[in-house]
């Protein structure tokens, strides 16, 4: 491969836009073997790889890419799984552009190596051929661990701890494990079959997954300790939807993004009436917010048959918190961006259904605490948008159930659990936490990183506890 060729990434095929806006099949189609090998050949195999330092779970990136280059695809997958129990998920939803690929040397002269696409390729290859489960380590000192929540943080912590020989029980409040990977991220970005394959892998490792158990209701954290658990990881996520607190928000047709996405993704509302859960979508849909959840909601709305779908965001395009790739996909599909606009009121018809939304135009002022320029309303610029469905995607905060029912577990005023960043330890002895319940809504991979850190420290906690006995 010459220097010029090396500069250019291997493109990945996508479902044609005119087709994909009418279905929920995956948009990105992944590499074939030939494409994967070509992309792997671009990697310089740096002796001091900068990409690894950008990975929250420390995957040996050059090593797995080398295996792909040498056509050892299963070995590539094993390499990934040494550090990452959810590679098929991460290969699809990680913001690689801000992590591993950001620091890639080739990125300085051309396109960085498409590490995410290669990760996806290797793990898909293995899944199609039947996953091999590593043998369980025989440990002399083992403990009993409870994992609360089965999202990315919990799955990662559970996998790491069960591999170390501990007895791991995972509690999930919904009827399927996977957390936000199941209820939040849509099928066309992350097929649910893939999530369930990753969950099954974790079950095969030996984790006992108990669905339909809402911790904080059926058992408190203290009751779990009384039941014989040595240490507990709380990865209960950021499941509580934020609302705008403006008039008309409780009208029919105004959804939280959580409700909308749970109905569509987890309950498969897009297959109603074959599936029992209905989802009502109108002709003109406004999605409030500019993050990935907003993009997901907008693109789901389109696929459910809406004529016009708007993203209404109070800042400008530059500040959109969504991944660039998701914004591009949304634009390609015909989502209309109404930037520098903010709703102030929802207007209902005589039946109590939303029929319009009063917005105000915004301008950008000085940067605020988040470093982004503060949006300022322009007085007198109010106008009415005709809409018959509104989806509020302005963020989620942690579900307060566990914090409310656990004495000695300190939380911040935002409801997040206080932890020591380097260990994941909370203010309550034996209780660790990580993921969105600690950081507030963030990425899948940062939650996995936190799960990993906590698992390591929980292991040490168990050893210390058992040795002292």
């Amino acid at each position: 491969m010459d220097k010029e060729q090396r500069k250019h990434e291997t493109p990945m095929a996508k479902q044609d836009v005119l087709d994909r806006i009418h279905n929920f099949y995956e948009v990105a189609l992944g590499y074939n073997e030939e494409q994967a090998i070509r992309e792997a050949e671009r990697c310089l195999q740096c002796p001091n790889p900068l990409c690894v330092s950008g990975c929250p779970v420390d995957i040996d990136i050059p090593a797995f890419i080398k295996e792909i280059k040498e056509k050892n695809f299963l070995a590539a997958s094993s390499k990934l799984k040494e550090k990452n129990s959810l590679p098929a998920v991460c290969g699809r939803v990680c913001p690689q552009e801000n992590q591993c690929q950001k620091t890639c040397i080739i990125g300085k002269m051309g396109d960085p190596i498409s590490i995410g696409r290669l990760e996806r390729f290797a793990s898909d290859y293995e899944r199609r051929r039947g996953v091999t489960v590593p043998e369980k380590k025989k440990a002399t000192i083992t403990g009993k661990v409870a994992i609360v929540g089965s999202g990315p943080a919990g799955l990662t912590a559970a996998a790491d701890l069960v591999k170390l020989g501990h007895e791991v029980v995972m509690f999930e409040s919904l009827h399927m494990a996977g957390g936000v990977l199941m209820y939040g991220i849509p099928e066309f970005r992350l097929p649910k079959e893939i999530v369930q394959a990753e969950v099954n892998y974790i079950k095969k490792l030996g984790v006992d997954v108990k669905t339909n158990y809402t911790i904080g209701r059926i058992y408190t954290i203290d009751e779990l300790f009384a039941d014989g658990f040595d240490t507990i990881f709380v990865g209960s996520g950021a499941g509580l939807p934020s609302f705008m607190r403006i008039p008309g928000e409780n009208l029919g047709g105004v959804y939280s993004a959580n409700e909308f996405l749970i109905r569509v993704n987890l309950m498969k509302g897009y297959l109603f009436p074959e599936y029992d859960t209905p989802i009502r979508i109108g002709k003109k849909v406004a999605v409030i917010g500019g993050g990935n959840v907003a993009m997901d909601s907008a693109r789901c709305s389109l696929r459910l048959g809406a004529d016009e779908v708007y993203i209404v965001y109070r800042r400008s395009k530059e500040e959109l918190p969504a991944r660039e790739e998701e914004v591009e996909n949304a634009e390609e599909e015909g989502i209309i961006f109404r930037l520098l606009n903010n709703p102030v009121k929802f207007i209902g018809d005589e039946t109590g259904w939303v029929k319009g939304m009063e917005c105000i135009k915004m301008k950008l002022g000085e940067p605020d605490a988040s470093g982004r320029r503060r949006p300022i309303p322009i007085e007198g610029s109010e106008f009415i948008m005709d809409v018959d469905t509104v989806i509020i995607a302005i963020g989620q905060s942690p579900n307060p159930l566990i914090q409310r029912t656990t004495e000695g577990l300190e939380a911040t005023k935002w409801g997040t659990i206080v932890t020591q960043e380097e260990t994941g330890a909370t203010t309550k002895k034996g209780v660790y936490a990580g993921g969105d319940v600690v950081s507030g809504a963030a990425t899948v991979i940062s939650a996995m990183g936190a799960g990993k850190t906590a698992a390591k420290n929980m292991h040490e906690y168990i050893l210390k506890k058992k040795n002292a006995m």
Partner: protein, 278 residues
């Protein structure tokens, strides 16, 4: 899977089932609910707990077979299993000993009301109970409620048994003193009871069956305005101070999925040939 241990028809189209779920039975309290899902394609449906049996390891709940899921459930038999049962969810009902309590239950809700009444009686409260139904044939738990009450009334919408409607309570509220009231039933009944007790400033606890998906605070479908603030029935309730609830908004929100529910019900009946009565 969760086994249906017993199933009884309490009135036409109203059933009581006991489901095998020892972990839930051990933790359940009056006023809390469970969420059921019948099968892999099923929706999540909240049902208020109507009692537990620790010896059998079961949780009881009553339902009115009016929607797609409840109609399917009505056709299941003892020995069959449902895929998912989650609970207990929501906060327990307030069960203080306040002295004299007025309880009003409507239709299928008389079953979970009995569970609350039992607990209130155990705390030493004196109970005046009104069991309401559409007609004399639709009464649920009439005998049980009568047995546990100190004063007992029946009310039917058409007057075929007992009092016609709930307006008879005007005189009772005028002449008797209660320390608090509890109402469980359809939203229209709750609203009626709250309107009746409002002039007497009688604290009235109502249990709201809002639309729900997850039942754990995630979706916000169950949001309801209470005292001018948005609350989640699943997290902050389901029991609220009825005088603060915006019932008109709640009634509108409950209608959101009526067209889809009708469609699903029609499809169900076409496919399955409807519900067998009796």
């Amino acid at each position: 899977m969760y086994k249906i241990v017993t199933k009884k028809e309490l009135a036409p189209n109203i059933y009581l089932i006991e489901l095998e779920a020892i972990d839930i039975a051990k933790k359940a309290n009056p006023g809390q609910f469970v969420i059921i899902r019948l099968d892999e394609k099923g929706e999540r449906v909240p049902l208020t707990i109507a009692g537990v049996d620790l010896d059998k390891g079961t949780v009881a709940t009553a339902f009115h077979a009016v929607g797609r899921t409840t109609k399917k459930l009505a056709k299941m038999k003892a020995g069959d299993s449902i895929t998912d049962l989650s609970g207990p969810l929501g906060n327990p009902a307030e069960l203080s000993n306040s002295g004299r309590v007025l309880l009003v239950g409507g239709g299928v809700w008389c079953a979970p009301l009995y569970y609350v009444a039992q607990a209130l009686a155990t705390k030493g409260n004196k109970l005046t109970i009104v069991a309401a139904g559409r007609t004399k044939n639709d009464m649920v738990y009439e005998k049980k409620l009568q047995e546990i009450s100190d004063v007992f009334y029946v009310a039917t919408d058409d007057g075929s048994k007992g009092n016609e409607g709930l307006d008879f309570l005007v005189d009772i509220l005028k002449t008797q003193k209660f320390n608090h009231a509890v109402a469980m039933g359809q939203v229209s009944l709750l609203k009626k009871v709250v309107d009746l007790t409002r002039p007497y400033n009688l604290k009235t606890l109502v249990t709201l069956a809002s639309l729900m998906v997850d039942g754990t605070g995630m979706c916000g479908a169950c949001r309801v305005s209470v005292g001018g603030e948005t609350k989640f029935a699943c997290m902050d309730g389901p029991e609220f101070n009825g005088h603060e609830v915006d019932f008109d908004e709640l009634i509108q929100r409950q209608r959101v999925y009526l067209p889809e529910e009708r469609m699903a019900s029609m499809i169900h009946e076409k496919l399955e040939g409807g519900v067998k009565r009796g």
